[in-house]
Amino acid sequence: MEILVCVKRVPAPGSRINVTQDGLAVDTSNLGFTTSPHEECAVEEAVRIVEEHGGSVTVLTLGSALSEEQLRYAASVGANKFVLVETDGEHDSDAQQTAEAIRETVISLEASHGIFDLILFGNESADSSGYQVGIRVAVSLDRPMVNGIKNIDVGDTQITAHREVDNGYEVYSLKAPAVFGIKEGINLPRYPTMKGRLASKKAEISTISASASVASQQRVRLHRPEEETVETTILGNDATAAVKIADLLEELDLL
């Protein structure tokens, strides 16, 4: 199995997210960065598939040179090859630009590498939540695409994927090459080992410059919604609270 996973570097914020003074970005001055959680699961899933069926996992990201950190993280948990499609880092790419850059990169990689059996995306990115890039890439490459995937089974000729819906699953059976949007919960991603982390420092990263296409969408301003304040009532600190809890459960029709 040759699998490509596309990941995005996103801030790892606390419960309160600050916006820069010009309103154009999240204030990341005190924040660490991570890979979007859905994509972390996609990398884990790819690594597991390759561990079972052989092949290799290539991880691709579009972003500034700083995004190397996320590629090395993927290396530390078992991915094999790494591609950084480097942008100037000054402006966020919109979904169309991102999809176009990925499409071009996939075509170029496949020309030398062969066709990827699977291309995995996160269901949506943790920062902008556009839900678009995976679908745009799949459509442009004329490959089948399913989002919201919580399970993948690789068979001899078919790939079966589960998509979570209310009260159950939709089951899709596809032939490679295919594209999936992976959803958190499909697995519990491993943490890097110390050895993995140290080995990741030596991982080779191919860097390609992103083509300078013009964005069709522009960010005007980020707005932080009013915080909802939640009133907390302490029912008690000792056994007497039990009665109050029972009353409350009754009131909520839970007893």
Binding site: G14, N30, T193, M194, L198
Partner: protein, 841 residues
């Protein structure tokens, strides 16, 4: 929850280990109406306590730190929140093995059972260690891990249950109100997002946030938030199957500045080896903004890679463990790595209890509570942690960051007792620096001032006096044989000493005499032109300081104290000023320069450039006069700390260089040489048995024991008088003695030289440490050569039964015992010129 109060007696800000323990102890000591605030939630409000590794290695070279640590261990143990698992420091270098000998010496001094281990013995205790990368270990069975959050909770609850404390979490302090006072502003209230609390006293126990809170009051708490990286790695079968939180000793890999601590099935790997990563307080995220807690900042993995490699070298299985949690944890660093405790110097009733590790937390809680209750603590003398020790130039962010960056990597380092700072030098210099530079002065820092310790241009005197070098590099480090040669030259001829670092205060006004008599032990009502050398006591009767006072006029006194004591002394004198305008206090340090000229030819040199008579009958010992010296207006004070005739000479800072030049020029025909502080502060002093604040003199000892009690007690009341009177009435259980080392030869066959750094115990002939009936251990307080006596001397307090001259004992240095003999005890400890004839010649 109780209603938010609008007044309280005392507000403690910060519910980490320190704030919680402090309120518990305050409550025990009878304080009521205390309010504890924290901006975060309880029990873990998000400060450094919440991510601490919580382990305690009790052995340290500093008595003050050990006292705090051992008391903390006792408190954790009493609450049942201590897990004694043992700990091993392992060495990868020969230098570290040498350091372990010093560790063993300290452990013997403080009575902490410890032993040295071979690599195989380390492996017996820690089977998964790679014994081939280590040379040995220093094992302390009493190393423990504690539950600092639960300890804090219990301490807090104890005070709440006693009805003395109200606690408010999630309460942000917005401002500290002060009201103007006669000498400085005084705390009046704490403004929070829940309301204002009017209060008498505020304690800042906010760890990394303390500087911000202090600034709200107009005070300074000199510390910086700094990163300590750690990662939790695992799980490992070898740990999981122990089914214990801590089944193996904690390992400190000293030469890589890392530690490995079991946490159930995982191993916590922490490091002090990465580059210093300092933050400003405003860069710390709020509780809401932080992904984890505010002090668990995003891990910068690149900084930790080297440590991972080294950890895997020591414990191979670590490489396969998953890094489940890794942080850039924030802790507090101060310019000298010690805590910042006690009343701030800028605002009355505004206290600091910051820059404290979990290992000292409960002890610091008790100590600060004692300080607030009794005027000074009993647990230990905190002069190394007293926030007043820092001078203004040491309280700014440039200094704090430079020094913190310099010492961060020394957290597990081997720091020589005489080691000098590399950063922030030449910030405070006297007026003769260009002259002493030209003479090849080697400078030590004295309270921030550059002070010549010896002069390279005196190299020729080494051969002249046949001074031998020291064999062992450790003994030779930050030392020069030139010092002993300068000493002998001064004894034969005359030396000039740069004393610009002296701290000089003046008090004046109609209430000056009554005020100063209240401050010190000895009678200050001497004639104008006279002087007083006197102890300054704490209320408990222990030493707060010793200093010299000159009576300049009926209503004006000059106080002269040492470079290392000026900050604390200034605080104390200002703090005790009367609440009216009858006394003015002025710090004249930066306006005045002091030079010292001593030796048998001193009077001849100085007489040649003045028309005033310096003869003994016209200018008696202990008196001072205004003298035109070489055309420079000066005040000369006939006194000696080095045991030879001569003067301390004061002039305006602007005249310092001219005065130096005049004396040096006049001295040419008298073989005058510059003499460094090693002679002034150690060898000259030791031959005369003079005591030094912070070494022999500290709060644990009183003037009777130090041999500084006068025959009479003055009528006037003074701070510590009741305790002083009581001490005089009871037979002292220990006395300060001077001892000589009868044989300095070590087992390897060459001579070694104790440092006098406070951690070298005196042993009985059978090798036991000596503890007096008050529980105080006999240890070397000063050590150094006495070139004029051809001896190596040490000062130490000994229980009365060991004080007889001729008593033979031992001293432990680098874990080897050397024979010593008591040479003198009591008030006169001089072995050189015992009757003082030379000084009065």
């Amino acid at each position: 929850m109780s209603e938010f109060p609008n007044k309280a007696r005392c507000v403690v800000i910060g519910a980490g280990i320190v704030g919680n323990c402090l309120v518990g102890h305050l409550s025990d000591m009878g304080w009521d109406d205390i309010v504890l605030l924290d901006k975060g939630p309880l029990p873990n409000p998000g400060g450094s306590t919440g991510h601490a590794s919580n382990f305690i290695f009790p052995c340290d070279h500093s008595k003050e730190i050990v006292d705090l640590t051992l008391d903390s261990q006792r408190q954790y143990e009493a609450m049942g929140l201590q897990n004694t698992c043992g700990g091993i420091e392992v060495a990868r270098s020969e230098e570290r093995m040498e350091e372990f000998k010093r560790r063993m010496t300290s452990a013997a001094c403080w009575g902490i059972p410890s032993r040295l281990l071979s690599p195989a013995e380390v492996k017996e205790l820690v089977p998964f260690i790679s014994e081939d990368v280590i040379l040995g270990g220093f094992y302390t069975p009493s190393v423990s891990a504690v539950d600092s959050l639960e300890t804090g909770t219990q301490m807090r609850k104890k005070a709440q249950e006693a009805g003395n404390l109200q606690v408010f979490a999630n309460t942000e302090v917005l401002d500290i109100d002060t009201v103007p006072g006669l000498n400085k502003p005084k705390v009046a209230g704490v403004v929070t997002d829940k309301g204002r609390i009017a209060c008498e006293t505020v304690v800042v126990a906010c760890g990394v946030w303390s500087p911000r809170i202090a600034e709200m009051a107009g005070a300074t708490i000199p510390l910086t938030p700094a990163v300590h990286q750690m990662a939790d790695v695992g799980p490992f079968d070898v740990l999981v199957e122990t089914n214990e939180e801590l089944a193996y000793p904690i390992v400190r890999d000293m030469d890589t500045f890392c530690y490995e601590r079991q946490t159930a099935g995982s191993m916590e790997v922490g490091s002090y080896a990465h580059r210093p990563i300092l933050h400003r307080v405003d860069e710390i995220p709020s509780n809401d903004e932080a992904a984890l807690s505010p002090t668990e900042m995003p891990f910068t993995a690149d900084d930790f890679d080297q440590q991972m490699e080294e950890a895997i070298e020591l414990m191979e299985f670590l490489g396969d463990g998953e890094i489940k949690y890794a942080i850039n944890g924030l802790l507090s660093l101060t310019p000298d790595a010690n805590p910042v405790l006690g009343p701030t110097v800028e605002v009355e009733n505004f206290w600091s209890a910051a820059a404290v590790w979990v290992k000292e937390g409960p002890g610091v809680g008790r100590l600060v509570a004692e300080w607030m209750t009794h005027g000074y603590p009993h647990l230990t003398d905190p002069h190394g942690a007293d926030i007043a020790r820092f001078y203004p130039q040491e309280r700014n962010v440039h200094h704090i960051e430079a020094r913190s960056a310099e010492h961060f990597n020394k957290t597990y380092g081997i720091v020589h007792p005489r080691e000098q700072w590399a950063s922030r030098r030449d910030i405070t210099v006297g007026p003769v620096k260009s002259r002493t530079d030209a003479l090849g002065a080697f400078y030590f820092e004295a309270g921030g001032w550059e002070r010549p310790h010896w002069y390279e241009t005196n190299q020729d005197l080494i051969a002249k006096y046949g001074i031998k070098d020291r064999e062992h590099e450790w003994d030779r480090r930050w030392w020069s044989p030139i010092s002993d040669a300068e000493h002998l030259h001064m004894r034969d001829n005359v030396g000039i000493v740069d004393l610009s670092a002296f701290q000089i205060f003046e008090v004046s006004g109609p209430g000056a005499l009554a005020y100063i008599d209240h401050m010190v032990v000895n009678n200050c009502d001497v004639k104008v032109g006279g002087s007083i050398y006197t102890p300054v006591l704490n209320p408990s009767g222990g030493f707060r300081s010793d200093l010299t006072i000159l009576r300049l006029a009926l209503d004006r006194f000059r106080i002269i104290t040492g470079a290392f004591d000026g900050g604390r002394d200034e605080y104390w004198f200002r703090h005790n000023l009367p609440g009216n305008e009858t006394v003015q206090f002025e710090n004249r340090t930066n306006a005045m320069c002091t030079l010292g000229v001593w030796g048998p030819k001193a009077a001849s040199v100085l007489s040649s450039i003045t028309e005033s008579s310096l003869e003994q009958q016209d200018f008696s010992y202990g008196s001072y006069q205004s003298v035109l010296l070489g055309g420079v207006p000066t005040e000369m004070f006939r006194v000696s700390y080095v045991g030879d005739a001569g003067f301390e000479i004061y002039t305006g800072m602007q005249h310092g260089a001219a005065l130096w030049d005049a004396i040096v020029e006049a001295g040419e025909s008298f073989e005058l040489r510059p003499v460094g502080a090693a002679v002034y502060g150690t060898s000259g002093r030791l031959e005369k048995g003079y005591r030094l604040m912070g070494a022999e003199l500290e709060n644990e000892y009183n003037p009777v024991e130090a041999g500084l009690a006068r025959t009479k007690i003055k009528a006037a009341d003074f701070i510590g008088k009741a305790a002083y009177v009581e001490a005089r009435e009871e037979a002292p259980c220990a006395r300060l003695c001077v001892l000589s080392v009868s044989d300095l030869t070590c087992e390897a066959g060459y001579e070694r030289y104790p440092m006098g750094s406070g951690n070298e115990p005196i042993l009985s002939l059978s090798g036991e440490r000596i503890v007096d009936t008050k529980g105080r251990v006999s240890r070397v307080t000063t050590a150094g050569s006495a070139p004029s006596l051809d001896k190596f001397l040490i000062l130490a307090y000994l229980p009365i039964e060991f004080c007889d001259v001729g008593t033979e004992l031992k001293v432990l240095y680098q874990n080897e015992a050397y024979p010593v003999t008591v040479e003198a005890s009591g008030s006169n400890l001089a072995l050189f010129d015992t009757e003082g004839a030379r000084m009065k010649a």
